[in-house]
Amino acid sequence: MPEKNYTYAVARIRSKELQLLDTQFINQLVAARSYHECVKLLLDKGWGQEGHMEVEQILAYEYKRAWDFIAELVEDMSVFDVLLLPNDYHNLKAAIKLVYTGLQEDKHFIDQGTINPDTILEAVRTQDDSLLPEHMRSSAKEAYQTVTQTGDGQLCDLIIDKASLEALYAAGKVQTNDVLRHYAELKIASSNIRIAVRSQKTGKSLDWIQRAMAPCDTLDVERLSQAAVSSFEAICEYLRQTEYEDGVEELVSSLSSFERWCEDRLIQKILPQKYNPFTIGPLAAYLLAKGNEIKTVRIILLGKMNQLPDDSIKERLRLMYV
């Protein structure tokens, strides 16, 4: 089926891309003398609003602004389910924990999702599954029962994270756009690798690992879980036989280096979208680039706040889209 054209939207994205942060500006942020100087540079660049000084305040505003802009351009936002579904599951996790603990805070919810966070909270509070989409119902029920009966928050997270990855896999499968399909696959594969490494380090059982991992096309989950109960070297050995072989060196270095490698790989994959004038690809690429930019700025701001050396901050920086 041919992809739908988004000629007007892509043209607007091209103008917006001019406002994305480039490597030069990122270096300028890193070179800033203090956290406050960083914030000032960001505010001058048009980030956040007057009076915003908190990291999360600025970043949440910027994230919301990017999604509001895309919502203005695209009538049917379901094309971005691949990007929005993880937020729904994050909200489900937050809702279950809020209901379990009886707290009233709503600051843990992410507004950008396929369903309203209040609906998820209401569904959990009233135990009314019909308010939730079908793919979420069984995991919501299982996770809620687990947390109320056993109080095991980690198991609750595992159930929801697995359901999130499965929903992402299903959404990626029906996706006609390469960028979004590739994003879904990379996200699931990197999550599986992370689960394997963490499980190996904490000595989890094969059953637990298999319960946590989700199916994906570029990894053999069975082999990866077997390797995870064996040794870290076995995980690396298996990954050397997959398309993630270039990331093994980073994985050996640290899990956060591997995560950075995955994110840089995604940015490299979406770079050709800068020259695609018609499909949803450039819009998805813009959202991914914006997400990457927000992560990078968070690293710098937190680094500055904790007075980390510039070199230490630079090591953690992501590849920029522009």
């Binding site: 054209n5 000629t7 007007y8 607007r12 103008s15 004038p277």
Partner: protein, 160 residues
Amino acid sequence: MGDLGMFFALSGAVLAALMAGIGSAIAVGMAGEAAAGVVTDDPSKFGKVLILQLLPGTQGIYGLLIAFITLNQIGVLGGTADISLIKGLLYLVACLPMAFVGLWSAIRQARASVASIALVAKRPDQAGKAIIFPAMVETYAILALLISILAVTGVGGISI
């Protein structure tokens, strides 16, 4: 048979105007969407993107020109309207280059224009170069126009 000849000749004229016109309408619309996107965020680029939007509109004008010459030749716009079947078919064939090349080149030129509009959005100082890319596609529309003009006027001189 004379009626059939006139029918085919008229079909040729109509096809040239119709197909090239459809091509240009699609193309100018497509480029217009992209141009509007750029102007929404930066109205100062209106002049630059307008040229790029108009470029694929020329095929429609070429189609109209061929249709006009053909109608004039076959006597629809005045004079005698006695066209043999063979001559009518020859007029039809003479109009086909403009009809097909007009339709296809307009749509392809629009794609190049949309890409160039994106270029102007990011690098307005490169607007001159951006115009060159879609303008290259124009070459083939002009070649088709030339052949159709030569053929239509040439058929008029043949006595069959």
